[in-house]
């Protein structure tokens, strides 16, 4: 920690009105209403300040250019699911704590629930819907079918995207390496063994296809 005994801060002067909101007020009613009226513009800040981003953006999703009106505070998973209809991307926790929302940005895995849509402008977004190519399943998708990899499969889209990202980084992982590379996804059914079987099979398949 700081060795200096005294530090000068820019604090001081007259303070703004300070009211600390407790947990209750932060809760339900306001947010629920906010969600319902989300795209009608009522929640947009009153003044559109100069230099601020425009709401209307073009996103590159699964190789397509999609024009969409995105509130500034919307996360990518919300835009994908509720504006673009790409409901393959799941929302489990909405807290970067489960991996169900995993998507690829320029080929790299990210949690869609924890990034603003506006932040990904200009980047290539890939969701589970974008994996198959002209009716040919991606090796990872094929591996899921071959291994019967999931139980309820709510976690599957996230895991699949993580496996795609993994193979890009390490086309021939050991089982342990795969476990580490997939450690950002949770499975509530606890089906990890079969999921790792799937990952190993996917690696094999993709090597044989290449």
């Amino acid at each position: 920690m700081l060795d200096a005994e005294i530090i000068q801060s820019r604090r001081g002067g007259f303070t703004r009105r300070k009211f600390i909101k407790g947990v209750i007020a932060a809760g339900a009613t306001a947010s629920a209403a906010g969600y319902l009226f989300r795209s009608s513009g009522v929640l947009a800040p009153m003044l559109s300040a100069q230099g601020a981003v425009e709401r209307l953006v073009t996103l590159n999703v699964n190789g397509q250019q999609r024009r969409v009106d995105v509130p500034k505070h919307e996360t990518l998973a919300m835009t994908l699911r509720y504006q673009l209809g790409l409901t393959g991307t799941k929302l489990g926790c909405d807290r970067a704590e489960c991996g169900a929302c995993t998507v690829l940005l320029d080929g790299v895995t990210h949690y869609g629930c924890s990034i603003l849509t506006h932040t990904v402008r200009g980047r290539e977004v890939t969701t589970i819907e974008g994996l198959e190519d002209d009716g040919v399943l991606h090796p990872v998708q094929q591996a899921v079918i071959d291994e019967g990899g999931f139980q309820c499969a709510f976690c599957a889209p996230g895991f699949v995207m993580s496996m795609v990202g993994m193979l890009d980084k390490n086309p021939a992982p050991t089982r342990e390496e795969a476990a580490v590379l997939l450690s950002g996804n949770l499975c509530r059914c606890g089906d990890y063994d079969k999921i790792l079987n799937t990952a190993m099979r996917a690696a094999e398949l993709s090597r044989s296809r290449a």
């Binding site: 530090i7 801060s9 604090r11 007259f14 300070k18 600390i20 909101k21 407790g22 209750i24 007020a25």
Partner: protein, 277 residues
């Protein structure tokens, strides 16, 4: 400008958590305005310099005003008060340092000092010298009129303390005791070796008001200390300030400003002590 800092507690109740720090600046500004206005407006009291020689009979040159104990109390209180004000408010205005421990230790020293003072006042000194009586009220009225230029009647001589000083004492006493009582309670909120931590001793709202009172008293003391120091360094009051350092005042000052009937200094018995200082 807000007067309170408020918060919603985990149960959704809107509770105060402290006084608004804007009031610090208000106290400083009011203090500065008071000082400037007083310095410009209040005409210097022209001391008549006349004293009744007959009263001077038998009185030594130097008369004791404050005993060593009283002076010790005053300066100890002053030191702890400055420590408390600095530790409390500097961090808020941006000069940050680890303040809480110094603050509460200074607080404990202040409490010991005040306890000593209260004991001393009742046991050794005359409690009534600080009491505001009817003559003080008269004196105050005349003084006010003179200050406003509505009267040139001479202000009667005071007892040991003029009425303005008595009023100051009582306001400072209330503010200090307010900070002391709430400060002791606040010790239960922090980790210290004197009192056990008991955060939930009171409801959030009660705690909030305790913090508010502590803050209001503290901020009040900013103003009081500014005013007090200003008077202490004014040229015509400096003899009083000196007496808080060396203990005595000279005979002429005594007779000029104090009514021997209201404040009797027994010269013969105190002469040796006063000169010994």
């Amino acid at each position: 400008m807000e007067f309170l800092r408020r918060a919603l507690n985990p149960w959704g109740e809107d509770v105060p958590i402290g006084v608004s720090w804007d009031l610090i600046w208000a106290a400083v500004i009011i203090g500065a305005v008071f000082v400037v206005v007083h310095a410009l407006m209040v005409p210097k009291k022209v001391a008549t310099g006349e004293i009744d020689e007959s009263e001077a009979k038998g009185l030594p040159e130097k008369l004791q005003r404050h005993t060593v104990g009283a002076r010790g109390f005053h300066w100890s209180m002053s030191a702890t008060m400055f420590a408390l004000l600095i530790t409390a408010f500097f961090p808020v205005i941006g000069i940050q340092f680890p303040w809480v421990t110094i603050h509460w230790i200074a607080g404990v020293l202040l409490i010991l000092t005040v306890i000593y003072h209260i004991y001393h006042v009742f046991a050794k000194q005359d409690f009534w010298t600080m009491w505001i009586d009817r003559r003080d009220v008269e004196e105050g009225k005349l003084g006010l009129k003179a200050a406003l230029g509505q009267s040139d009647a001479e202000r009667p001589r005071a007892g040991k303390y003029p009425v303005d000083q008595k009023m100051f004492h009582h306001v400072a006493m209330i503010a200090t005791l307010g900070a002391v009582v709430t400060g002791i309670l606040m010790m239960f909120r922090i980790d210290n070796f004197l009192l056990p931590m008991n955060t939930y001793m009171f409801s959030d709202a009660t705690w909030g008001w305790i913090y508010v009172i502590h803050g209001v008293c503290g901020i009040g003391l900013i103003f009081l200390v500014i005013a007090h120091v200003y008077f202490a360094i004014r040229p015509e009051k400096r003899w009083m300030t000196w007496s808080m350092i060396n203990g005595w005042i000279d005979r002429d000052r005594y007779l000029e400003n104090h009514d021997p009937a209201r404040w009797t200094v027994d010269g013969s018995s105190q002469r040796a002590e006063a000169e010994g200082d």
